[in-house]
């Protein structure tokens, strides 16, 4: 069952349901907050939670008390009694008051004008005529030009005003009386007494009330609420149910709240000016339309329960909302617990763009609401006859739902991205840079020159700073300057890029030419930017390297070809001799003696051919790289001795006296003994052929830090007019005039064998002395 539930819980239907519920609960949250706000405002609730606030702290209650007090005062002072009203006495009093007011105002006005005139007179001495600034309605100009206050005019003007007032009062007097009468008659949960101590009158609904009566004790216990204003600064409100909440108004002191001060000021004003004492006792729980505060109590109860309900709704919605959100976050993007995260089509948008695009309608809706909520709510309420409060909530709920949907979708999309780890890879930046191809590799970036990285960072920082300055600054100048700087910076970077790209292009040109074997192409170096310079130098280096290698290869090819051409020629020469002499032998005219002679020549030529062919084989093997060397540590002196020993036959025959000099040292070299012997063999045979007979040939062994050397020196039979290099070259190319023995390849072979062992083969010529040196790398000392 658990598994089924898990599968089920990922299904599309459940997810959609959860989404819908989340939106609904968000709407609940919005609505409950707004309603709570309404309740707050309507009752001026200062504190939460609802069961703690007191009725006496609410504004409507205080307003109602104010109304009560006003009515009571009117009753006492204006209307006095039923008889006074019906007889017209009451109205006369009011009228008299009005005319008293009139007289006061007139005298006050006259006084003011007089003061003004005086001031004018004083300043006229200094500044001249000020009559143009005075309202001439209030002044008269005497025959002699002096100004005086026009009292009559003033009286006239004010009289008309007051006449109107009297008229007004007259019209409203009776209706006002009716209203107040009804107020007090109607009320059944109120017992009151308003005493005018100076007059000795009382207005009360207590049977047989007497001005002298102690209303305090009479009224105090009768109803739960009791209120009295009896002292100059003493307004007491007591709630019997709640003995603790004896609530005293002190006007102007003790940080009393404004609303309380208003009420207390009003009552105190009546009390002090008119010397009234107020006593009220009422029961706020009476449930009837005729109850004072009834409306308030009903709406208070309504509001209280409503408020409580709303707060419960808020918290429970919040709780369920959190559960739903957690569920959606866990479940979104996946089909099952272990399945991979799938992104929806909407998720193709990078996170940043998605949030911006979602934010826009949300922002617009919020702005629209601020301006138009009231208006729309009113229209709606007119159309549907639903209370304004409710329609406002409906409009808020609808727009809230829309916003919730958009925001929730955006949030879930972001969560999916986070789960799929595509926040960065799917971001706008990533998409843009993917357009350029390649990829970002952190290690390779860190390999870049630090100055390049720093330059990029500095540029970004400057641009960002300028952009922020431009956006936030209130000064137009700063904005323009910042934008201008950004433009300049970007233009310069753009141009730098152009420079770099042209430099790259130039390098590409070079490489293109190299590819086609054209090594002469020269790059325009002035195009190379600082960052590319090193790279371009290296490419040029490669090009040079290739050119050198190609040159060498071509040279080597030429040499080899020449070698082989010469050798084939060298082969033909002895062959021709053999053919010739064989013919001669075949001839009958040849004598035995001659035939012997011919035979020995043929023998010699045959041997020569054999040698040549052997040499040729060796050369081809060497050039083909098919030779294996097995180097070991060799005692060079021992080696030299052996060489001389093995060659002593030939050398004796050629009458050449070979001497080995005593070595200064006994160097050990790392070389292949057999192959090195071949080198020496060639050199020895060279000596045999070309050294002057009866001369001494010296063999020397020496060494330096890198190489061990074997040197052979001999005097040449014929004079040498060439340098050592030329001689070597000549021999390797097989100079026909000298190769009576087809010797050409020997030195070439010797040189190859030497170099292939990391050695150096040199020939030098000094007068008639011929010197050949074989250098081999020293063996490593272990």
């Amino acid at each position: 069952m658990a598994i089924k539930w898990k599968k089920f819980s990922y299904s599309h239907a459940v997810k959609s349901l959860a989404f819908l519920l989340t939106v609904i609960f968000i709407v609940f949250i919005i609505v409950s907050i707004l309603s709570a706000n309404i309740f707050w405002k309507s009752f001026d609730i200062k504190s939460l939670p609802p069961n703690k606030f007191n009725l006496e702290e609410t504004q409507p209650f205080l307003n109602e008390i104010g109304v009560l007090a006003d009515n009571a005062v009117d009753m006492l002072t204006k209307y006095i009694s039923d008889e006074a009203v019906s007889s017209g006495e009451a109205f006369k009093l009011t009228e008299a008051n009005i005319w008293a007011e009139y007289r006061e105002e007139v005298s006050a006005e006259v006084e003011d004008r007089r003061n003004e005139l005086e001031k004018y007179r004083q300043s006229a001495e200094e500044y001249g005529d000020y009559s143009q600034y005075l309202d001439m309605n209030y002044y008269t100009v005497a025959a002699d030009g002096t100004l005086s206050v026009n009292v009559t005019n003033i009286e006239h003007v004010l009289k008309s005003v007051y006449n109107l007032k009297v008229q007004n009062e007259k019209n409203n007097f009776l209706s006002g009386y009716e209203r107040v009468r009804q107020y007090f008659d109607k009320v059944i949960n109120l017992r009151y007494a308003v005493v005018s101590k100076s007059e000795g009158t009382v207005v009360s609904n207590i049977q047989g009330a007497d001005p002298e009566e102690d209303f305090d004790s009479v009224l105090k216990g009768s109803y739960p609420w009791y209120m009295s204003v009896t002292g100059a600064s003493n307004v007491t409100v007591i709630n019997k149910n709640n003995d603790d909440s004896v609530f005293s108004f002190y006007s102007g002191q003790d940080g009393v709240n404004r609303s309380e001060t208003d009420l207390s000021e009003k009552l105190l004003k009546y009390h002090t000016e008119k010397d009234f004492d107020f006593y009220f006792a009422f029961n706020e729980n009476a449930d009837s339309d005729n109850c004072i505060f009834s409306g308030i109590m009903r709406s208070y109860d309504y509001a209280r329960t409503g408020y409580t309900a709303v707060v419960w709704l808020l918290f429970s919605s919040l709780f369920i909302f959190i559960l739903l959100i957690v569920y959606l976050v866990i479940v979104c993007g996946k089909d099952g617990r272990d399945s991979p995260v799938k992104l929806t089509r909407m998720d193709k948008l990078p996170v940043s763009l998605h949030l911006i695009i979602s934010g826009l309608p949300v922002y617009l809706i919020i702005i629209w609401e601020r301006k138009n909520l009231d208006r729309v709510a009113n229209r709606l309420s007119e159309l549907t006859r639903i209370k304004w409060d409710i329609t406002a909530l409906i409009v808020a709920a609808i727009s809230g739902a829309i916003i919730a949907c958009i925001v929730l979708e955006a949030v879930l999309s972001t969560v999916r991205h986070i789960k799929a780890k595509t926040v960065l890879s799917g971001s706008l930046t990533a998409k843009i840079i993917r357009l350029a191809g390649g990829r970002l590799d952190r290690e390779k970036i860190l390999d870049l020159k630090k100055s390049t990285l720093a330059a990029v960072l500095v540029y970004t920082a400057i641009c960002t700073g300028l952009a922020i300055a431009a956006a936030l600054s209130s000064s137009r100048w700063v904005t323009v300057a910042a934008l201008l700087l950004i433009l300049i910076l970007n233009l310069s970077i753009y141009l730098i890029f152009l420079k770099t790209f042209t430099a790259f292009n130039e390098i590409r040109n070079l490489v293109y030419h190299i590819q086609r074997g054209e090594f002469d192409y020269k790059m325009d170096d002035s195009l190379m930017t600082a960052t590319i310079k090193g790279f371009s130098d290296e490419v040029v280096g490669i090009s040079n390297g290739i050119r050198i290698a190609v040159d060498r290869a071509t040279r080597d090819e030429k040499t080899k070809t020449e070698l082989i051409t010469n050798v084939s020629h060298d082969l033909k020469t002895p062959l021709t001799s053999i053919v010739n002499y064989v013919e001669l032998i075949k001839r009958e005219e040849s004598s035995m003696e001659d035939r012997q002679k011919y035979l020995s020549i043929i023998d010699e030529k045959a041997k020569q051919l054999k040698r040549l062919i052997d040499d040729l084989t060796e050369v081809s093997k060497l050039s083909g790289g098919n030779v294996e060397f097995h180097p070991v540590d060799i005692d060079l002196y021992e080696f030299a001795l052996q060489v001389v020993g093995e060659s002593s036959d030939e050398l004796e025959k050629a009458k050449i006296d070979v001497r080995i000099k005593e070595p200064q040292c006994r160097p050990m070299v790392f070389a292949d003994g057999q192959k090195t012997w071949r080198i020496m063999e060639n050199l020895i045979s060279n000596v045999v052929k070309y050294a002057m007979p009866e001369t001494r040939t010296y063999v020397e062994v020496s060494a330096d830090e890198k190489f061990g050397y074997v040197t052979i020196k001999n005097i040449s039979a014929a004079s040498l007019d060439l340098s050592g290099d030329e001689l070597c070259a000549r021999f390797t190319r097989g100079d026909p005039s000298r190769t009576s023995e087809g010797f050409g390849l020997g030195l070439s072979i010797a040189q190859s064998l030497c170099e292939l062992q990391n050695g150096v083969f040199t020939i030098s010529v000094d007068g008639d002395m011929f010197k050949a040196t074989v250098a081999l790398p020293l063996a490593n000392k272990k």
């Binding site: 054999k610 060799i634 001795l641 052996q642 093995e646 002593s648 080995i660 070389a671 003994g673």
Partner: protein, 236 residues
């Protein structure tokens, strides 16, 4: 060259080049050998089966069965000496040939006199070797036998005339059979002095010894040079 034996030995020559066969036959007959010819390995095998052959000269490059496989097949049944002929002169080829069971390997072009000398040497060894091996207090390598008691050197049963110094050198090298000894060591062992410039004499002596015991001193079989290190007596 030493005197020919009383008995006429049988030598089989096998090569696909008929001219070569002809010329070889002449030389061998001059030396007093009976010759048999074959142009293919198969034929050579059948001759060996049917006759008492004392030495086979075999060319390596032949059509059908080549020289090396023929060597293997002959070796399977017989102990007679086989000399391989080839134009392939690489060391590797020689080693291959010898490891297939041949006793000797000669490269073309060769000196026919040398070839005949080798044949003689091989036959001598083949026929008289048995008597040599049993002797005590001898050092033997291939056809060389050093009698330690008599202080005499025999090559294929024939005594070799060496000078005292030469004999000392040979003895020293044969005491260290197969090991490479530098001229310095040889000198100090034989002359009993510390080597100075007199090592040069060692090479001279070596040369002389070679001339006496090697068929071709230029291509020694017994007394070999290890370049840069010294000389050794090959352990065959």
């Amino acid at each position: 060259m030493s005197a020919t034996n009383q008995m006429a030995y049988n030598v089989l020559i096998c090569d696909d080049d008929v001219d070569l066969l002809d010329s070889l036959e002449i030389y061998l007959k001059l030396e007093g050998y009976n010759t048999f010819r074959a142009t293919t390995g198969k034929k050579a095998l059948s001759i060996v089966e049917r006759n008492d052959i004392h030495c086979v000269i075999l060319d390596v490059m032949m059509p059908e069965t080549d020289g090396l496989s023929t060597t293997l097949m002959i070796r399977g049944e017989h102990n007679l000496p086989i000399i391989l002929l080839s134009a392939k002169s690489e060391d590797t080829d020689k080693i291959t040939g010898l490891s297939f069971g041949a006793d000797d390997y000669i490269t073309k072009p060769y000196n026919p006199l040398e070839l005949v000398a080798r044949v003689k040497s091989q036959i001598r060894r083949y026929t008289s070797l048995g008597s040599m091996v049993n002797k005590e207090n001898t050092i033997v390598t291939g056809g060389l036998c050093l009698d330690l008691d008599m202080n005499e050197l025999f090559l294929d049963g024939e005594p070799v005339h060496l000078t005292a110094t030469e004999l000392k050198i040979v003895r020293f090298l044969m005491d260290n059979l197969g090991k490479v000894m530098s001229s310095e060591k040889i000198y100090s062992a034989v002359w009993n002095e510390t080597a100075s410039s007199a090592e040069k004499t060692v090479t001279v002596h070596i040369r002389r010894i070679r001339e006496k015991i090697e068929i071709n001193p230029k291509e020694p079989v017994y007394l070999k040079v290890v370049w840069g290190i010294g000389y050794k007596m090959e352990k065959i």
